[in-house]
């Protein structure tokens, strides 16, 4: 074979500023760009949640300056009910797509997957560059909806038809705002498909000599499995968005039923199926939850193993469980639709796999806790956030057992119970995964250490704060506090308002604590202690690069050769209690190597 694919992964170091930092082909720069995008997005999303929380705690509170964001949506700085829904939609969309998908998967995956498999870059660097810039354009399109027409869409991040498909008659933002939403997400899908293509081919084809699949670190496995999920999910969401756009602007009737009257106007559509949108959306939407959480699982495993200085109880079983979650994630999506009017037998059929998917998730948690038991865990910010992830994942996951059952879900559906559940199990857990990854890999990404004291303060504020915010949500949900309401005027909701006030204060404090992180990030980037090549005494290939941060082609003149399993800790070697994957040193190990 004269065309070695490794050649495809080589390109010369750029010399101009634009090619080096803006339109870069280097997977490391693209990874950092994704991280920066996620950072901007997460703070935008957080500010939106602050505004919503203030309104929920103190209804009709004037929030100074809000009218600058929208003169119509917040006359006299008091938001209208519609504007609350618009902010809620944007919060959900920004967080799910541009934070939870981009940061743990695209940002860290881009930076570290090629290095962990021993490649010099991704095989299709131009597609990789496109994947970021397409995602960036998608973000701009989405955010632009704040500033055009009557603001962003109010349909929620799920954009249920028919409201999302009828156009301006559906309410403020349902015209141009929803069109921009659908266009943005369709563009986003293109970016993620290009990214998945690169991730899959990198893992399959660019592994360095000796790097068998079972020798890949768990983070690399997680990114690989996630990219397989992303490939399947985004390839379905994209045509769904296109059909939605056509209903919206071209007058087709895919999702709008006959005889629909909105605001006393008979809609000029016929015969569409509102459930069709839900099926197409949730076929993407549920795997999307795992697209957010599986990379975080991989990162957390990677961080935990390094800090507890011994391999997991089973490397292989954890990989199989992540794979099982990926496969099952396509069979459970109907649990979002228990009360949609679909056949009750379908609910039952979707309920079983939903309960089954908890088995691999539970096994993963048991592997973590079982491996942690009796280990001498090194406490640092990264390992604390990894523990925080496990805690959040378990706490949020437990409420999933309740929601998985149609009979209970009928009552809990559309209450704060669901909001508490998914924020803990998926949103905060994944964000803790991102933090664990950041504190762990920052030295390799920038060449400087992050401040541990500030890091630990950041952790405790975030950990306690997240519980203070999201645990009461479950209580509110059981008290039948319905979600997506902008004010609680009903009698039975009045006594719950103090809880909302508590949550708002907790959200403001926890959010403010994130500025500690930003300070730490920026300060450490420029003035942090210079990082050694392998500060955590870790074993995988990213710690074997000749310089820190890695040079343009990652490994300098010689590609590494892999001699060991990814997590050979607790051994006696010349460097300490570990042996690096790329070290030819012979060591005696308890575990048979693969």
């Amino acid at each position: 074979m004269h065309d070695m694919s490794t050649h495809a992964a080589q390109h010369h170091e750029p010399t101009t500023f634009i090619r080096k930092h803006v339109f870069s082909l280097d997977h490391k720069v693209i990874g950092k760009q994704y991280y920066a995008l996620a950072l901007v997005a997460v703070f935008s999303g957080m500010v939106l949640s602050w505004i919503m929380r203030l309104h929920l705690g103190w209804t009709n509170l004037a929030i100074p300056g809000l009218h600058f964001l929208s003169a119509n949506g917040a006359p006299g700085d008091v938001m209208t009910p519609e504007y609350y829904l618009q902010l809620m939609t944007m919060h959900g969309t920004i967080m799910v797509f541009f934070v939870l998908t981009t940061a743990p998967f695209a940002a860290f995956g881009n930076f570290f997957l090629p290095i962990q498999v021993g490649a010099e870059d991704m095989p299709f660097p131009h597609f990789n560059m496109m994947s970021f810039w397409v995602t960036f354009v998608a973000f701009l399109v989405l955010v632009s909806s704040f500033f055009v027409g009557d603001g962003p869409s109010l349909g929620g991040w799920t954009q249920y038809a028919p409201l999302s498909a009828v156009g301006a008659v559906g309410g403020p933002g349902e015209g141009l705002g929803t069109a921009l939403w659908a266009i943005s997400i369709a563009i986003f899908c293109v970016g993620q498909l290009l990214g998945s293509l690169n991730f899959i081919t990198t893992t399959l084809d660019l592994r360095v000599k000796g790097m068998s699949m079972m020798r890949l670190p768990l983070s690399a496995w997680a990114w690989f499995i996630t990219s397989c999920m992303g490939l399947t999910a985004f390839a379905v969401l994209m045509p769904a968005c296109i059909l939605l756009i056509l209903d919206h602007v071209a007058g087709t009737s895919f999702f709008v039923p006959s005889g629909l009257v909105i605001n006393d106007q008979l809609q000029p559509h016929s015969g569409g199926s509102t459930l069709l949108w839900q099926h197409l959306f949730w076929f993407f939407g549920h795997p999307e939850v795992y697209i957010a959480i599986v990379p975080a699982m991989g990162i957390v495993s990677h961080v935990l193993i390094t800090n507890m200085r011994r391999p997991l109880l089973s490397h292989r079983v954890l990989i199989y469980c992540m794979g099982a979650i990926a496969v099952l994630s396509y069979m459970v999506y109907g649990h979002h639709m228990f009360v949609s009017g679909m056949n009750p037998f379908s609910s039952l059929a979707f309920s079983f796999p939903t309960l089954i998917i908890t088995i691999p998730a539970t096994i993963i948690v048991l592997i973590w806790t079982g491996s942690l038991y009796g280990s001498k865990l090194r406490i640092n910010t990264a390992s604390l956030f990894a523990l925080g992830f496990v805690s959040m994942f378990v706490s949020g996951g437990v409420s999933g057992f309740f929601l998985a059952q149609p009979s209970l879900d009928i009552m809990l559906h559309a209450t704060y119970f669901v909001v508490g559940h998914f924020h803990m199990v998926m949103a905060v857990a994944a964000i803790f995964g991102i933090f664990a990854g950041t504190y762990f890999w920052f030295p390799k990404m920038t060449g400087r250490m992050m401040n541990e004291t500030w890091g630990k303060i950041h952790f405790w504020f975030s950990f306690v704060g997240a519980y203070c915010i999201f645990m009461p949500f479950h209580y509110l949900g059981i008290a039948a506090n319905i979600r997506r309401y902008q004010a609680f005027v009903a009698d039975y909701l009045q006594p719950l308002i103090p809880v909302h006030k508590f949550i708002t204060v907790a959200a403001l404090l926890t959010g403010a604590a994130q500025f500690i992180f930003i300070y730490n990030l920026i300060h450490s980037r420029f003035w942090g202690k210079p990082a050694p090549d392998n500060p955590w005494e870790a074993t995988s290939l990213e710690w074997s690069t000749p310089t820190t941060p890695p040079p343009h082609n990652n490994f300098g003149d010689h590609l590494p050769v892999v001699y060991h399993d990814p997590y050979q800790y607790g051994v006696k070697s010349s460097v300490g209690d570990y042996v690096m994957q790329a070290s030819p040193e012979q060591v005696a190990t308890v575990n048979e190597e693969k």
Partner: protein
């Protein structure tokens, strides 16, 4: 207790790199115990040959989603109006099938050319140009089918059946455009003598897949519309 590097090589003849397509290192340990790394040859399949299957999988998922949407939408209510497909579609199908044949011919010619079996005086790109031409003709034919339908008063929003016709043919047409871009890229690389065999193979696989996809879509439209 097992020592790692002293273990006997876990490579058997089936596991030799180069015979499997799972990339460098395969699924098992490929570093031999005696440290003789030459045994584990530094081989991996070209990324484009794996990548094209990844692309085709995504395309399959996309059209599967549209197919299921069509089936669900058709069953959702009674407003589905049947219409006869424009006859030019059958001619277009013939064009596309022919283009696959010409692409296969060119693939073999280019391979022979790259292998030095043909003289420099022959243009290896000729059949690629013919494929390109047939592809463009197919797109023109599809456009003509749209014009015929619109003359009959069937537009995108007229009826769900016509909506799906336009959506499916447009989506397929866009993918054909991608294939034409691929063939143009191959011709350009060939003229610079910088063509990789794997690029040509991947383009051909994509094109044949588009061909098969069109036959599937035609059957779907023929039976459902």
């Amino acid at each position: 207790m097992a020592t790692t590097v002293h273990e006997p090589p876990q490579i058997d003849s089936r596991r030799r790199p180069g015979t499997s397509h799972s990339g460098n290192g395969g699924w098992r340990n490929l570093v031999p115990a005696d440290g003789d790394l030459r045994v584990a040859r530094d081989y991996s399949p070209p990324a484009s040959s794996t990548g094209i299957w990844v692309v085709l999988f995504a395309v399959t998922m996309m059209f599967a989603a549209l197919t299921s949407a069509l089936v669900v939408r058709k069953g959702a209510s009674f407003d589905w109006r049947h219409f006869t497909l424009p006859s030019i579609l059958y001619f277009n199908t013939f064009l596309l099938l022919a283009s696959s044949v010409t692409l296969e011919v060119s693939r073999r010619r280019v391979a022979a050319f790259m292998g030095g079996l043909r003289s420099q005086s022959e243009s290896p790109a000729r059949w690629l140009y013919i494929t390109l031409f047939l592809g463009l003709l197919f797109l023109a034919g599809q456009y003509e089918a749209w014009l015929q339908l619109s003359r009959e008063g069937l537009f995108l929003a007229t009826n769900p059946s016509s909506s799906f016709f336009y959506v499916l043919t447009a989506a397929h047409g866009l993918h054909i455009l991608g294939g034409l871009a691929g063939i143009t890229y191959v011709i350009r690389k060939l003229s610079k003598s910088a063509l990789r065999r794997s690029t040509l193979d991947a383009t051909a696989r994509y094109w044949h897949f588009m061909d098969a996809l069109w036959v599937y879509l035609l059957l779907l439209l023929w039976t459902k519309l």
